[in-house]
């Protein structure tokens, strides 16, 4: 009898989290990238606080998107290299939930940390404190969508030796709605308007990605392993 899918997914998430936590460098890389780029903007744009604060919502969201793009390449790579991926595909549990478990672990290790750390980066750019809750919330919702979409790209390109450029071309178009509504949420909060509608759209995007992305990830993984 196969183990229940829920128990299996729980073990998968735990496995991926332990693997991530035992490589703290890779865990810190997206955050470090975020911090570096945010620190560069005042040098490039000039240190005037007003200009920076105007651009802050867009800057923060673009950097979050790029740092997610950097890591989505690696979600399945090491598992393909050591043969774990074949075993995952042969597991009796539905691949849909396994794919979801991998993405959840990826989000917990990247998006969640980024969302929680984002108030610090927001202060570095002089974003008004009133907009910070909207920023953190939009990042938490939005990075989950990005992780799901990035998982599709990762699954499709995992069999390629150098899939870095291809994955960007594949998934960047799908990142655009998240970027638009994410930064709009922060902008709205900044202007004193309610951010709720934008967050609701991000939530809707998350729902549809949870429903559909694992199907695409599962299909991508099957293609990548079938050499």
């Amino acid at each position: 009898m196969p183990a229940s899918a829920a128990g299996f997914c729980f073990r998968l998430v735990r496995r991926q989290l332990v693997l991530g936590l035992r490589r703290p460098v890779e865990l810190g890389n997206p955050l470090l990238f975020f911090a570096m780029v945010v620190a560069l903007f005042p040098l490039g744009l000039g240190p005037a606080p007003d200009t920076l604060a105007d651009f802050a919502p867009g800057i923060l969201w673009i950097v979050a998107l790029l740092s997610n793009l950097l890591t989505s390449d690696a979600v399945f790579r090491s598992d393909l290299e050591d043969g774990s991926l074949e075993q995952l595909l042969l597991a009796p549990q539905p691949l849909y939930f396994s794919a979801l478990a991998y993405v959840l672990a990826h989000w917990l290790l990247t998006g969640l940390l980024l969302g929680l750390a984002s108030p610090v980066f927001a202060l570095m750019l002089g974003l008004a404190p009133t907009a910070i809750p909207a920023l953190a919330l939009s990042l938490l919702l939005g990075t989950a969508v990005l992780s799901l979409i990035g998982g599709i790209g990762g699954a499709l390109t995992v069999g390629l030796k150098r899939g870095g450029m291809l994955i960007s071309l594949l998934i960047l178009p799908f990142y655009m709605p998240v970027l638009i509504f994410g930064s709009s949420a922060v902008q709205a909060a900044l202007n004193g308007n309610p951010a709720g509608p934008y967050l609701a759209i991000l939530g809707a995007l998350l729902c549809i990605s949870i429903a559909l992305a694992p199907l695409a990830i599962a299909a991508g993984l099957r293609i990548s392993v079938d050499t």
């Binding site: 009898m1 196969p2 183990a3 128990g7 299996f8 073990r11 998968l12 735990r14 496995r15 332990v18 693997l19 035992r22 490589r23 090491s78 598992d79 290299e81 050591d82 043969g83 774990s84 991926l85 074949e86 075993q87 995952l88 595909l89 042969l90 597991a91 009796p92 549990q93 396994s98 099957r222 392993v225 079938d226 050499t227």
Partner: protein, 206 residues
């Protein structure tokens, strides 16, 4: 699927399997019905398509071949790669294994690791183990699994003489319990059990 008379004992059935790679016909017309208690060794030279055949039988290759494969029982597939994570200990590797069998008890995992002579290495990070020990972590799954159908690709590679004897004993026990084994190996298998040989070049099973 016209006649399905005696599927109760058949674990795996392949019909008219053929594979062409890069303009070369690797094998064709392979007919196979692996039954409970049968041990089949796939034979062929390097590049004859043994691994490809096993991947087709396991369901990892889904396209690009002709014929059909049906599996009637849960399977255990061990490929060339050990599926062992260097950052996890052998115990964690087995407890959280991605192959998705039912959660194993810690005692069962310790017993399986002891069976493959990894007693004392349970909590050592796997990257500190040798290549042969990695293979042994993977082979410990043979002592944990409840799947009746085993597809093993070169299970004895990088395993020392004593380890091979342990594995052969395990194979024998599995066959006597009504399991079926299909394996590829370049080494002769010393199991006191009737061995069927599948010759990939001719497709003959004898």
């Amino acid at each position: 699927m016209a006649s399905e008379s005696a599927t109760g004992d058949v674990l795996l059935r392949a019909r008219e399997l053929g594979l062409e790679r890069g303009g070369r016909q690797l094998f064709s017309g392979i007919e196979l019905a692996l039954q409970r208690g049968q041990l089949v060794q796939v034979e062929g030279a390097n590049g004859a398509g043994k691994t490809s055949l096993l991947r087709i039988l396991a369901g990892l290759s889904r396209y690009g071949f002709s014929g059909s494969v049906e599996r009637f029982a849960p399977q255990l597939f061990l490929g060339h790669q050990s599926a062992v994570k260097g950052l996890l200990t052998p115990r964690e590797n087995l407890a959280w294994h991605v192959a998705g069998e039912a959660g194993f008890s810690p005692e069962a995992i310790d017993a399986a690791l002891a069976a493959v002579s990894l007693y004392g290495y349970e909590d050592v990070p796997s990257h500190a183990l040798s290549a042969g020990q990695h293979r042994r972590v993977n082979l410990a799954r043979l002592f944990l699994t409840r799947a009746p159908l085993w597809l093993l690709d070169e299970p004895f590679t990088a395993i020392d003489r004593a380890g091979v004897a342990v594995l052969e004993a395990r194979l024998l026990a599995h066959l006597q319990q009504g399991g079926g084994v299909l394996l590829t190996s370049h080494q002769p298998i010393a199991v006191a059990y009737p061995l069927l040989r599948l010759d990939l070049a001719t497709g003959a099973l004898q």
